[in-house]
C-alpha cells in the first residue's frame, strides 16, 4: 500500500441493497471508514418499502421473510433499530376449480386438512417433511460460511471441505445418494415419490419455480424448492414472516446499524465506473462525474452488471467478460402491488380471521404450472399464471389505513423480453389485467376494491433496482451457479478478478433472497484480507 496516495476511505460499497448494507455495517463495525453509494433516492434494492399511494406502504419487490439470518439480526441489534419479524399463518392453495388446500400451523388441523384431500398424502407428508428438513439442515449450515475452493485447496479450503464432508456423511449412505439426486431432479419428480394428489403436489411444487426460469418439470427445480423452505422464523424451519413496516424495515434497520458504527450512506449517487489501476480497484466515478477513492471497492450489483456495465473490459483479466456475458440471469417473475378499499374474500375458503386473510397461492395444478412456463419459453407472460398473494396489511397495522388493505401478488411467469417486441406501458398494464382477472376468478368483486396498482414486469424491476433481466435472485439458482460456482467457478469467495474488488450481492453464495448472508460473508473475507479480526458471526443455532 503506497502511503503517499492513501485514500481517506477504507471501503466503497456500490449499491444499498440489503446485502450492501449488511456488508457496510460489518466493515464499519470493524472500524473501517465506509461509504455506501446508491443510485436511487431510496435504499433497500429489492428489500424496499415505498408509499406510492397515500397511506399505503407497498413492499415493492420482496414481500416475505424467512431467509434472514437471525445470527445477523441479533448481532447487529436490528430489533433495536426497529425490526420485528412477524410469522403469518395459513396459506390457502387453490386448485383450478373449487378445490382448496389450507396449510395450518397446528398439527392436528394440518393433518385433517391433508386427509380430506388424500389419506395417503396425509401420511406421506411426514416422510416428506423429514426428508426436506434433513436436506435443508445441510444447506443451512453453509449459509453463513464462505464456500471452499475445491481447485485451490489451501488449508482453509481443505478444512472447509472436511467440515462439509462430515455434515454429509452424518446423513448415512442411503440419504447421501438421495441428496445428490435431489440437486438435479425436477420438483415434479421429487414430489411424485411422495404424493398422489395433484393439488397437494402443485402446492408443494410452487416454491420450486418462484423466481426461476424453470418449470415444475425442469431438472434443477427441486433445489429451488429447497432454497425456499430452508429459511426459518425463530427456528421454525420453512416458516415465512412479514417484516413489520414492510421489507424496507429490514433495510432501514441495517442502515441504522451502518450509521451506528459510523458508516455513511449516499443516495442518488449512482456509480458509472469502477476505477482500476495496475489491476487494482482504486475507487469509483459517480454518474455526476465525482470521483471517490478507497482501499477497497465492494459491488452489491449482480455479476453481469458489475462486469459488463460498471467495469471496462480492458480492466478485466481474460475470460471474465465472457463469463459475465454467459452468466444465467433470466428473469421470469412479475410483481403486482394493489391498494384495496376493503379486505377481499375468497370463495371456498373458511371465513375466519386466520385463514381468509390473504395468504393465497393460486397454484392450479401441475399441468397449469407447466403450461404457465410454456408461455414464458415462448416470450409471453403466462395467460393463466401462478400467483402468490399476501395481504400484509391484514397482519401489519402500519402499512395501510385501518379497514383498508394492500395486496402483494407475485407472478410466475413473466419474461424480460417479449417475443413480439419491447415492453411498453400498455403491455405492462395488460399483464396487470391478466393477474387481476385471475384473482377475480377466486374472489368475485375483487376488481371493485382496487384503489391503486403498481405493475412490475422484469423490465421495471431491472430499470428501477438494476436486477439484470429482472432476475430476482441476481442470477439463477442452478447447480452450475451455486456454492463455489457462484457467481463463477474460481470466484466463489467474494474476491473478484481485480485486486481490492469484492462482490457482496445475491450473485454470490448462497444466492438470492433477503438473508443478509452474502453481505456478511463478503465482509468476513474482506476483514481477513485487511488483517482485521473477524466480527461476522456464523449461525448460532445449536445443532438442530
Amino acid at each position: 500500500m503506497s502511503v503517499s496516495s492513501s485514500p481517506a476511505l477504507d471501503a466503497i460499497v456500490i449499491g444499498a441493497g440489503h446485502n450492501g448494507l449488511t456488508n457496510a455495517a460489518y466493515l464499519a463495525k470493524a472500524g473501517l471508514k465506509v461509504v455506501v453509494l446508491e443510485k436511487n433516492d431510496y435504499i433497500g434494492g429489492a428489500a424496499v418499502s415505498r408509499e406510492l399511494h397515500e397511506g399505503f406502504t407497498y413492499s415493492n419487490c420482496s414481500y416475505m421473510c424467512s431467509m434472514m439470518r437471525q445470527a445477523i439480526h441479533r448481532d447487529l441489534n436490528l430489533s433495536r433499530h426497529g425490526l420485528i419479524l412477524v410469522p403469518y399463518l395459513g396459506t390457502v392453495n387453490s386448485g383450478d376449480g373449487d378445490e382448496r388446500l389450507i396449510s395450518y400451523h397446528d398439527e392436528t388441523a394440518a393433518y385433517l386438512e391433508l386427509k380430506r384431500h388424500s389419506p395417503h398424502d396425509a401420511d406421506a407428508m411426514h416422510r416428506f417433511q423429514a426428508d426436506l428438513t434433513r436436506y435443508s439442515q445441510l444447506i443451512r449450515k453453509t449459509l453463513l460460511r464462505t464456500p471452499p475452493d475445491p481447485a485451490r485447496l489451501r488449508p482453509r479450503d481443505i478444512s472447509e471441505l472436511l467440515f462439509l464432508a462430515k455434515q454429509f456423511w452424518s446423513m448415512g449412505e442411503a440419504q447421501i445418494y438421495e441428496y445428490i439426486r435431489f440437486f438435479t431432479m425436477s420438483a415434479a419428480e421429487f414430489l411424485d415419490d411422495y404424493f398422489e394428489n395433484d393439488l397437494i403436489k402443485a402446492a408443494m411444487a410452487t416454491p420450486g419455480i418462484i423466481g426461476t426460469a424453470l418449470g415444475v418439470c425442469s431438472p434443477g427445480s427441486a433445489y429451488v424448492l429447497l432454497h425456499h423452505v430452508m429459511g426459518d422464523v425463530d427456528g421454525n424451519i420453512g416458516a415465512w414472516g412479514l417484516a413489520r413496516g414492510g421489507m424496507g424495515a429490514i433495510s432501514n434497520a441495517l442502515a441504522g446499524a451502518v450509521r451506528e458504527h459510523g458508516g455513511e450512506i449516499r443516495t442518488q449517487a449512482g456509480v458509472r465506473q469502477v476505477l482500476v489501476k495496475n489491476r487494482r480497484a482504486t475507487g469509483v466515478v459517480l454518474d455526476n462525474g465525482d470521483q471517490l477513492s478507497a482501499r477497497i471497492v465492494v459491488s452489491n450489483l449482480d455479476a453481469k452488471r458489475t462486469f459488463t456495465r460498471i467495469m471496462d473490459a480492458s480492466d478485466l483479466p481474460d475470460g471474465i467478460r465472457e463469463k459475465a456475458d454467459n452468466f444465467k440471469i433470466r428473469g421470469s417473475s412479475g410483481k403486482v402491488n394493489i391498494a384495496l378499499s376493503a379486505l377481499p374474500k375468497f370463495t371456498g375458503v373458511p371465513d375466519n380471521p386466520y385463514v381468509n386473510r390473504g395468504g393465497q397461492a393460486f397454484s392450479g395444478s401441475m399441468e397449469t404450472l407447466e403450461r404457465a412456463y410454456d408461455c414464458w419459453k415462448r416470450g409471453r407472460w403466462s395467460d393463466d399464471p401462478f400467483v402468490e398473494s399476501v395481504i400484509p396489511s391484514a397482519w401489519d397495522p402500519t402499512v395501510a389505513p385501518p379497514g383498508q388493505h394492500w395486496m402483494s401478488n407475485f407472478i410466475q411467469y413473466c419474461p424480460p423480453q417479449l417475443a413480439d417486441g419491447p415492453w411498453t406501458a400498455e403491455k405492462r398494464d395488460q399483464f396487470g389485467q391478466t393477474v387481476v382477472n385471475k384473482i377475480e376468478r377466486y374472489s368475485p368483486g375483487f376488481k371493485d376494491l382496487i384503489l391503486h396498482m403498481e405493475v412490475r414486469t422484469p423490465h421495471e424491476i431491472e430499470q428501477e433496482i438494476g436486477l439484470t433481466e429482472g432476475n430476482i435472485f441476481q442470477g439463477e439458482l442452478t447447480l452450475d451457479q451455486l456454492f463455489f460456482n457462484r457467481p463463477f467457478p474460481g470466484y466463489g469467495q467474494y474476491r473478484m478478478p481485480v485486486r481490492n474488488l469484492y462482490m457482496c450481492g445475491s450473485s454470490t453464495h448462497p444466492g438470492g433472497g433477503v438473508s443478509a448472508t452474502c453481505g456478511a460473508n463478503a465482509a468476513r473475507e474482506i476483514l481477513l484480507d485487511l488483517r482485521r479480526p473477524n466480527s461476522v458471526p456464523e449461525d448460532d443455532f445449536f445443532d438442530e
Binding site: Y354, P402, F542
Partner: protein, 398 residues
C-alpha cells in the same frame, strides 16, 4: 328431566367472558386459574404473542383477585402492609407493589388502585383475603370486601390497543399516562380503564361489572375487528412478561406463605426490586428484616441474561466457569425471544459473581436423545423489550 351434575362441585367456574372465549378457543386449550377455567392459548400461542407485540390482543384477567379496601384507615392499613408508600399514589393512579412477611419474604406482588381518598382496590394473582384480614388487625376504620367475583376484567394490550379503544368511543383515552385510571360510560354501563398491563407494551386494563362483561367484549371486538383483535392466553402472557422482565409466582418467586423450606422463598432485594422498597415511609411488614438484608446484601440477585445459541435455558444451572464446577445460580424462566431475537432468561445469581463470567448448562432433547450445551451468558441492564410507545403520552395509534 334435569339430572343433577354429579361433578358440579369440582368443575371450574366460568369467567363472565366465557361465552365469547369458548367460541374462540378453537384448540380447546384450557387450564385453570383461581378456580376459573382459563385459556392456555386460543388458536396458536406464538400467533397470540405476536398480536400482543404487533397489533392488539385481549387477556381475560377476571380470575385475578380483587379486593376493595375502604374507610378512614384504609390508606394507613395498606401502607402498613406493602413495601411502597401508598400515600404517594395519587387519586386515579395505580401503583405496583409488593408485600412481605415480617421476615421480609415476598408474599405476593400486585397493584393498588386509588379510587378515592379512603378507597382502594388491590389486585393480585393469588387469593390474599386472609393476609389482608391479618394486616387490618389494629385498624378499626377499614372494611375489606372481596370483589374477585364481582368485577370482570380484560387486559387490552399491544401497539394498536389505544387506537381500538378510541374507535370504541373512549374519547381522550390516549391522554391517559401510564398508571392513570379513567372512567367512561359505555353503552349505559360504567367502565373503568387503567393504563396498566403485564406485557411491557402499550396497553390497558378494562374493569366492568360482570353483567356488562359481554357488552364490553362485543363493543371492543367490533371496534377491534379491522385491527385483527385476538384473545391470548397464559402462554403468550408468559412470553411477553419475560421479555418485559416481570416476575411470576411459581417461576421467579415461591409465595412466602406457601413455602415449606427455610428461605426457599425470596425477598424484594433478591428479586432486584429494590425500587419498590421505601424505607422512608412509616413502619411496614418486613421492614426491619429488609433493612438488615439491605446492609448485609442479598444472597441472590435476579438478573436478566442474554445467552448464546438458540436453545432455551429453561431449568439450567448457572456456573462461574465453562467447566461447570462452581454453581453460582439458577435460571427461573427462559425462552427464545422473537421480538428481541435473543435467547433470554431471568436467573437468580449470587451477587458476587454477577460481574464475572457466567455459563449456563443447557439440556435439550432431539428426537428422544438428550444433549447438553454450555453457553456463555451476558447480564443485561435493561429489559429485553421496552418500546417507546409503552411510555408515550399521548399514546400512539400503532
Amino acid at each position: 328431566m334435569n339430572v343433577p351434575d354429579p361433578f358440579a362441585g369440582e368443575r371450574p367456574k366460568l369467567s363472565p367472558f366465557h361465552p365469547r372465549l369458548k367460541a374462540l378457543n378453537v384448540r380447546e386449550a384450557w387450564s385453570a386459574w383461581n378456580g376459573y377455567k382459563f385459556a392456555e392459548y386460543y388458536y396458536d400461542a406464538e400467533y397470540e404473542y405476536f398480536c400482543v407485540r404487533n397489533r392488539v390482543a385481549t387477556y381475560d384477567i377476571s380470575p385475578m383477585q380483587k379486593y376493595e379496601i375502604k374507610g378512614p384507615d384504609a390508606e394507613a392499613m395498606l401502607n402498613r402492609m406493602v413495601t411502597r408508600d401508598v400515600r404517594k399514589i395519587g387519586l386515579n393512579r395505580v401503583g405496583y407493589t409488593l408485600w412481605c412477611t415480617d421476615e421480609g419474604r415476598l408474599i405476593d406482588d400486585g397493584t393498588i388502585f386509588r379510587l378515592g381518598a379512603d378507597r382502594f382496590m388491590l389486585t393480585c394473582g393469588s387469593p390474599c383475603g386472609a393476609w389482608l384480614a391479618k394486616s387490618a388487625f389494629g385498624f378499626d376504620a377499614v372494611t375489606i370486601s372481596d370483589w374477585s367475583d364481582e368485577l370482570a376484567a380484560l387486559a387490552v394490550q399491544g401497539p394498536t390497543s389505544c387506537a381500538v379503544l378510541k374507535r370504541m368511543g373512549l374519547d381522550g383515552v390516549e391522554t391517559a399516562r401510564p398508571f392513570d385510571i379513567r372512567h367512561f360510560d359505555l353503552r349505559g354501563s360504567s367502565l373503568m380503564v387503567s393504563r396498566t398491563g403485564f406485557t411491557g407494551d402499550l396497553g390497558y386494563e378494562l374493569w366492568v361489572s360482570p353483567e356488562h362483561a359481554l357488552n364490553l367484549w362485543d363493543a371492543l371486538y367490533e371496534a377491534g375487528e379491522p385491527y385483527g383483535i385476538q384473545p391470548y392466553g397464559e402462554a403468550a402472557t408468559n412470553m411477553a412478561r419475560l421479555e418485559a422482565g416481570f416476575i411470576m409466582p411459581a417461576m421467579e418467586f415461591n409465595e412466602a406463605l406457601k413455602t415449606v423450606h427455610f428461605e426457599h422463598d425470596q425477598t424484594p432485594f433478591e428479586l432486584s426490586l429494590d425500587w419498590l422498597v421505601d424505607f422512608r415511609k412509616p413502619h411496614f411488614s418486613g421492614r426491619s428484616a429488609l433493612l438488615r438484608e439491605q446492609q448485609a446484601g442479598p444472597k441472590y440477585r435476579l438478573a436478566r441474561l442474554d445467552i448464546e445459541g438458540n436453545r432455551s435455558a429453561e431449568g439450567s444451572h448457572i456456573y462461574r466457569n465453562r467447566r461447570c464446577t462452581k454453581q453460582i445460580g439458577y435460571v427461573t424462566s427462559a425462552m427464545w425471544s422473537p421480538a428481541a431475537k435473543a435467547n433470554i432468561a431471568l436467573a437468580m445469581i449470587e451477587p458476587k459473581f454477577l460481574n464475572g463470567e457466567m455459563w449456563a448448562e443447557i439440556y435439550y432433547e432431539k428426537e428422544l436423545r438428550h444433549y447438553s450445551r454450555v453457553a456463555r451468558c451476558t447480564s443485561r441492564e435493561k429489559p429485553f423489550w421496552t418500546p417507546a410507545r409503552a411510555r408515550a403520552t399521548p399514546a400512539p395509534d400503532f
